[in-house]
């Protein structure tokens, strides 16, 4: 099992494409997205709606170096639109293809 950083991001559905474009730019391939999330924070309550202003939950597993880059690109997005990003350690059960 390989030690990795587990990055967990909550942003609005409408910002997802923008975030993925940024991940492409810094060469992050893998991520998982759970749509239809709600929540509450400094900017009040969010829930899934017709306007796509609900939240999505993105999980990224990557090495420390990539994690640095991800944090770099996510920070301005969080500052601009709100949301959260949590980083923790995990072990990746490697699957060689």
């Amino acid at each position: 099992m390989k030690p990795v950083k587990r990055i967990e991001i909550v942003i609005e559905e409408v910002e997802l494409d923008d975030l993925i474009a940024e991940l492409d730019r810094i060469g992050v391939v893998g991520f998982t997205v759970v749509p239809g999330a709600g929540g509450r924070g400094e900017r009040g309550v969010r829930y899934e709606n017709l306007q796509g202003l609900g939240n999505v939950l993105m999980t990224i597993a990557c090495d420390a170096a990539q994690a640095e880059k991800v944090i770099e690109v996510i920070r301005p997005i969080l500052k601009r639109y709100g949301g959260i990003c949590l980083v923790s350690d995990a072990l990746w059960v490697v699957h060689e293809t």
């Binding site: 409408v14 239809g36 306007q51 202003l53 639109y81």
Partner: protein
């Protein structure tokens, strides 16, 4: 047709029911995908009908409506923007975001107006539906421009990419695609085929509208919590702006386009209504400094209910008065 009898229109009553359910904190839940499905259905239905009507009229005669739509789409946000800055006195970025909503249109309000005319057995011209499709987009562009002006400059690379994306979305967003697309299909599809699909889009239409408004009523009531944050002056704007828009719309519909009361009402509703589907996400991306609590509450919580319950019959009375 009196304002009371409008309130007895089933569509309006279901809006009220949804509103009430939320106010009494009922656990009634309306699946989000159902709301999406209903709005897809309504846009396709209105588009198909529009298209079938439009092939009957000579294209040239539509030019006026197209120009009027563009005029309203670009003009109304600028009116709203200056009202918000000089009269309501809010910051430029929130003003730009809100203004964009009022430049665009609410298909839900438009369709409710058609239900109103149907119930009143009043005919209407077929052009307004093209105007509906056209008016979705320009306001978003204006909103972007106003925002960039007040920020002086479109910001860094990422922000510029986002802006480009938004201009693209303004012309390709789902509502526009469905409206224009099904208008085209209604216009060119073979009649035998159309006859087969019409029952679906005809007979169910008003019933589906009721379910959609049930959900809209719940959505509107959800915004009440933000009324205090919005403040009396902005709430006033949420009622004054549709009146101004309607006045402009009536003038254009009656004098410029020479529509009868039915058509004039629809133009008034286009001008009076504020977008609550296409524009909010665009403005959220374009102007994150603007508070969704403000623009969503104004468009969903105040202007939409006002138009559906009071506005439509009011504008229609005016339209009839003009038509005398």
């Amino acid at each position: 047709m009196s304002s009371l009898s409008n309130m007895l229109n089933p569509a309006v009553l279901f809006f009220g029911l949804g509103f009430l359910a939320q106010v009494v904190r009922s656990d009634l839940k309306f699946p989000n995908d159902l709301a999406k499905a209903l709005s897809i259905y309504l846009l396709v239905g209105i588009g198909l009908h529009g298209g079938m009507e439009l092939v009957k009229v000579d294209p040239a005669s539509a030019v006026g409506a197209v120009i009027a739509a563009l005029g309203l789409g670009f003009g109304l946000p600028i009116v709203a923007y200056h009202l918000l800055i000089w009269v309501v006195r809010i910051d430029r970025l929130n003003a730009a975001a809100i203004a964009a909503h009022y430049g665009s249109v609410s298909a839900g309000t438009f369709i409710t107006a058609i239900a109103f005319l149907d119930a009143a057995k009043v005919t209407h011209e077929s052009y307004p539906v093209i105007m509906l499709a056209i008016m979705e987009s320009p306001a978003i562009i204006i909103g972007l421009v106003l925002a960039n002006l007040s920020r002086q400059g479109a910001g860094n690379g990422r922000e510029r990419r986002v802006s480009r994306e938004l201009v693209h979305d303004a012309f390709t967003n789902g509502s526009v695609m469905l409206l224009l697309g099904s208008m085209l299909i209604g216009a060119i599809a073979q009649p035998t085929g159309l006859q087969k699909i019409l029952p679906f889009y005809d007979s169910m239409f008003m019933g589906v509208l009721c379910l959609f408004l049930l959900d809209m009523g719940m959505e509107a009531a959800r915004r009440i919590g933000d009324f205090k944050a919005v403040g009396a002056k902005l709430i006033g704007f949420g009622i004054a702006m549709p009146l101004i828009g309607a006045a402009i719309g009536l003038a254009i519909g009656h004098y410029l386009l020479g529509f009868g009361p039915g058509g004039a009402l629809l133009v008034a509703v286009l001008a009076a209504s504020a977008s609550y589907i296409a524009v909010p996400p665009a403005m959220r991306l374009a102007i994150p400094e603007a508070s969704p609590a403000l623009f969503l509450t104004l468009s969903l919580g105040i202007t939409f209910p006002f138009n559906v319950v009071v506005g439509i019959p009011l504008y229609f009375t005016a339209a009839q008065w003009l038509a005398r």
